[in-house]
């Protein structure tokens, strides 16, 4: 096992996320006085980093798709696929953790919130990406067409998650009135929570990168076995 420093860092950060995330005192104003969040607010350290992770992973996938089009190296294609795959898994987890949280706080698991819609669209796009890949037997063509779709979809998806929250009201923080905000509601994140939140984001991102690299090594070994 190749235990590099960032893998150890990932383990430490996630241990810290679980321990501190479940133990630190929550800001009384936002968690109890002004809302019905209560202890469910701790889901913030698990739900939100899933989305950060997903966005980072699909961005890595995009970069490798662009690299593939510039220089058709089969390795780039495998990297782009595997990062998109882990990104999709993160998206599913983000949707699930969000649905559980929404069930307790908003009264229903699904309420057509613009960010929920955006999340579902991301899943549909990337599942379509895998369907497209599997529809072509020829390896060269598959890599190239899939890379083109990956780039096209990414550059439509990002404006979409900027536009959608501004069209309708959102239950997410920062979504009141017509001032829908595509990012976080900045005011609800206080200093104590930030000390757990950012390490959590880094921890989850490193963990998923680790998972992707493992998948990558398996894929490369499989292909060596087939070509030998």
């Amino acid at each position: 096992m190749r235990l590099q420093w960032w893998k150890i860092l990932s383990i430490i950060l996630l241990l810290y996320t679980f321990i501190a995330g479940l133990l630190i005192p929550l800001p009384y104003e936002t968690a109890y006085a002004n809302s019905n969040l209560y202890e469910s607010m701790r889901n913030f350290f698990f739900h939100v980093p899933m989305w950060f992770g997903q966005l980072i992973l699909i961005t890595v996938s995009l970069v490798y798709s662009i690299l593939y089009l510039r220089k058709p190296n089969h390795r780039y294609d495998i990297i782009a696929t595997e990062f998109a795959r882990t990104g999709t898994v993160m998206g599913c987890l983000g949707l699930l953790t969000g649905a559980i949280w929404a069930n307790y706080t908003w009264g229903a698991a699904w309420s057509n919130d613009p960010k929920q819609i955006g999340a579902a669209i991301a899943l549909l796009i990337y599942i379509a990406y895998f369907v497209l890949r599997n529809s072509m037997p020829d390896m060269d063509k598959r890599s190239r067409v899939a890379a083109v779709y990956n780039i096209f979809a990414y550059f439509i998806y990002i404006p979409m998650i900027m536009i959608l929250p501004r069209l309708t009201e959102s239950l997410h923080p920062g979504g009141k009135g017509n001032e829908g905000n595509p990012g976080l509601g900045g005011s609800s994140l206080d200093a104590t929570m930030e000390t757990v939140f950012w390490p959590a984001v880094f921890g989850w991102t490193l963990l998923t990168t680790w998972i992707s690299t493992l998948r990558l090594r398996v894929r490369i070994l499989e292909e060596k076995k087939h070509s030998a």
Partner: protein, 216 residues
């Protein structure tokens, strides 16, 4: 520019000579709306609007799907060497935008005749219909190119395209809602500009990515 015009002219001539495709789509439009009329009668304006744009979506998939599938591998190579990939995709985008605007206006007329006329501001709605037909056709033209490359038909186009078309459809619904009442919606211009910006983005992506798609 000359190449683009020549390619559009070629597509037009093909449509005129093989009329069955053109009339095929027209018949598709007419029969879909007729079935819709039998199923729904004359719905209220919100439903009318929703149905109208959904029907546009399906018409677009079917009208645009054939644009790359009809070209054989050898003919593609010929166009590629004669005109270049960028001219080719621009010609297809323009031609399909024109075709889709025509189909949208035909389906608007049929909607008026069969499904009732809840429009308070028809001129504005016609403008939105042209813009909408154009926006839908741009996205689906590029997806048709991808689907044709994968040797798949309209089904794959729908899978690839429906998630990506959602921002356009939502913007179109929102702006066309203003044509049903005499109210002035704040920020209408902003929504229209947003849609135009999305169109420009799609054209830019198509022009940049298409040469990679067809390189062999």
């Amino acid at each position: 520019m000359n190449h683009i015009l020549a390619l559009i002219k070629k597509d037009l001539l093909l449509e005129i000579r093989q009329q069955y495709t053109f009339y095929g789509i027209l018949l598709y439009v007419a029969s879909t709306i007729f079935v819709l009329y039998l199923a729904m009668g004359q719905p209220e304006e919100k439903v009318w609007n929703g149905l109208f744009w959904m029907i546009q979506l399906f018409i677009c998939v079917n009208a645009v799907a054939k644009s790359f599938l009809q070209e054989s591998q050898g003919r593609m190579l010929y166009f590629y060497t004669v005109a270049g990939a960028r001219d080719f995709i621009l010609a297809k985008l323009l031609f399909n935008a024109g075709l889709m605007i025509l189909m949208s206006i035909v389906s608007l007329l049929l909607f008026q005749v069969l499904m009732g006329n809840p429009l308070q501001n028809p001129v504005r709605f016609i403008g939105f219909v042209c813009l909408g037909g154009c926006s839908l056709s741009l996205v689906f033209t590029f997806l048709a190119a991808i689907a044709a490359r994968a040797r798949q038909g309209a089904a794959l186009m729908a899978i690839l395209g429906f998630p990506l078309i959602i921002p356009q459809v939502l913007l179109l619904m929102k702006m066309s809602n203003t044509a049903f009442a005499d109210v002035i919606q704040a920020g209408l211009l902003q929504i229209v500009l947003l849609l135009v910006a999305l169109d420009v983005l799609v054209i830019a992506l198509a022009v940049i990515l298409f040469p990679f798609l067809w390189k062999d």
